[in-house]
Amino acid sequence: MSILQTKKLTIKFGGLTAVNEVDFSLESGHIVGIIGPNGAGKTTFINLIAGLHTPTSGSVFLDGEDITAMKPHKRARIGIGRTFQLIHPLENLSLVENVMNGFLFAQDFSVPKARKAAVLLCEELGLSRLERPTSQMNILEIKKMELAKALAVNPKILFLDEMMAGLNSDESLEMISLVQKVTRSKNLAVGVVEHVMGVIKQLTHSVVVLDGGEVIAQGKYEDVVKNERVQSAYLGGGA
């Protein structure tokens, strides 16, 4: 039974239809890749689910409940976690304080309790020297912190937007196993936007291909990449 569902989700900006009637679902314990060429509407789609945009039409369901009109901060509280394509460390908070936010606000922990929980979570992800300002962290640590921030809201579903961008192959591998580990241990439903096909292949259980805001294919990675429409979309031929 899928935990997250979208039905004919659509958003238009002026004349441009960025996401067009997308039906999509996620299941707990599964990792779904969301791929497509630049401008296909992947990030817009995540923003729609996170509540940053209001859809023009269509709806979003979490656990069968319609959350289409819900405010973004509420969605975080009911278990939608995400990371950002452009990373957003809160630079005036230290590493651990960045992670504490989710515990404090999505889970209503007290400050000392949130700190303890954040320390535990950071250790689980292999982060150390937790009182550092974010400006003293390297890119892998920042990415891990972003993951920790998303996990701190105690998510049921998790969207990872370009988590591997900027990482070298060793670091990517480390992140991949980390994501797989938390998906299993927390029984998460995960959506991954990624450009590197190798990562998608390794990480995901299935993929959805977006082009021009529409789903043009979905299924197992191996099958989908053979799809003609997908190939022409990536080659720039258009559908």
Binding site: F13, G14, G51, L52, H53, T54, P72
Partner: protein, 310 residues
């Protein structure tokens, strides 16, 4: 862009409706309002330029105009010149004053949070006005020139003709700036710097010197305005403060970096203020109209912008 058109459309519409109402009910209020709008716009345009390109809210804006006015006054008194002639040396001097102020103070606060720039320019404003107070006392000064009182009568409405010069100055400032920004190399560079300082640096534009020149140009414009100002108004050390605030409000109402809207906003405010003042007992309430309109416009724009995007 769309919302911009909506704002311009409603501003023009508003002005149109006001003009029609006033033409029927109180033609003189319309004329006074347009004249007042010219003064507002001419003073606010240099601030809009600085804010749009250098991204500095200059709280010493009015004080710089005050300095320019005192400069004009001193030049006129010393050499017996007409203020509109003394305008030329004033503008030149103010160009360099602006350059120095920028080079030695504001430049160092560019990278700091905008709050630092606010307080820095607030400190400068204080130094300028208190300095003049010490040198020239708080007693107001004014140059009297004959042509200021020229007037015309249409039907039974008499009004000053000289006052239209402020509208002319505003229009000349505006077209001059638009041409400068769109047609000249320096202007294009300034636009590029204003939109994306980092990117501009990559294509080889010297950001700091562009900022300096823009600030100096704005100061020279204030120099010109200072000369015009003293033909109509008295000057005293604290005369600038109110115009800093008014300009700031106008620029915010127009939207940052939108020079033509400064003129439109001035017209909206000038005519509305004048209309309110033409009602007996209305003067006391005219600031309410001024500030109320500003809030309304800002809110309207923010709603127009967020419609569809949360």
């Amino acid at each position: 862009m769309r919302q911009n058109k909506a704002v311009i459309g409603s501003a023009v519409g508003f002005i149109g409706v006001m003009i029609i109402i006033l033409l029927i009910a109180k033609p003189s209020a319309l004329i006074f309002g347009i004249q007042r709008a010219g003064l507002y716009a001419a003073i606010a345009l240099p601030m809009a330029l600085v804010l749009g390109i250098v991204h500095i809210v200059n709280l010493a804006h009015g004080e710089m105009m005050m300095i320019a006015a005192y400069l004009t006054y001193s030049i006129c008194v010393a050499f017996g010149l007409d203020p509109l002639v003394a305008m030329v040396p004033t503008a030149v001097i103010m160009f360099f004053v602006g350059m120095l102020l920028f080079r030695f103070t504001i430049r160092y606060a560019l990278k700091a949070p905008e709050l630092n720039q606010l307080i820095l320019t607030f400190g400068l404003a204080m130094v300028l006005s208190q300095g003049i107070n010490l040198l020239a006392t708080s007693q107001p000064r004014k140059l009297s020139v004959d042509y200021v009182t020229s007037s015309a009568t249409i039907g039974n409405v008499s009004f000053g003709t000289y006052d239209f010069i402020f509208l002319a100055v505003a229009v000349i400032f505006l077209t001059g700036l638009m041409l400068f920004l769109k047609k000249t190399r320096l202007g294009k560079a300034a636009m590029a710097v204003g939109q994306n300082p980092v990117g501009a640096q990559f294509v080889g534009i010297n950001v700091i010197s562009t900022y300096t020149i823009i600030f100096a140009i704005a100061s020279a414009m204030l120099g010109i305005m200072g000369a015009f100002f003293i033909t109509k108004m008295s000057i005293f050390p604290t005369v600038g403060g109110a115009y800093t605030m008014k300009s700031f409000c106008l620029v915010a109402m127009a939207g940052i970096g939108n020079l033509p809207m400064v003129l439109l906003s001035s017209l909206v405010l000038g005519i509305s203020e004048s209309a309110v003042q033409s009602i007996p007992g209305g003067t006391g309430w005219s600031p309410l109209v001024f500030f109320g309109l500003i809030i309304a416009v800002i809110l309207f724009r923010s709603y127009a912008k967020t419609a569809g995007v949360k």
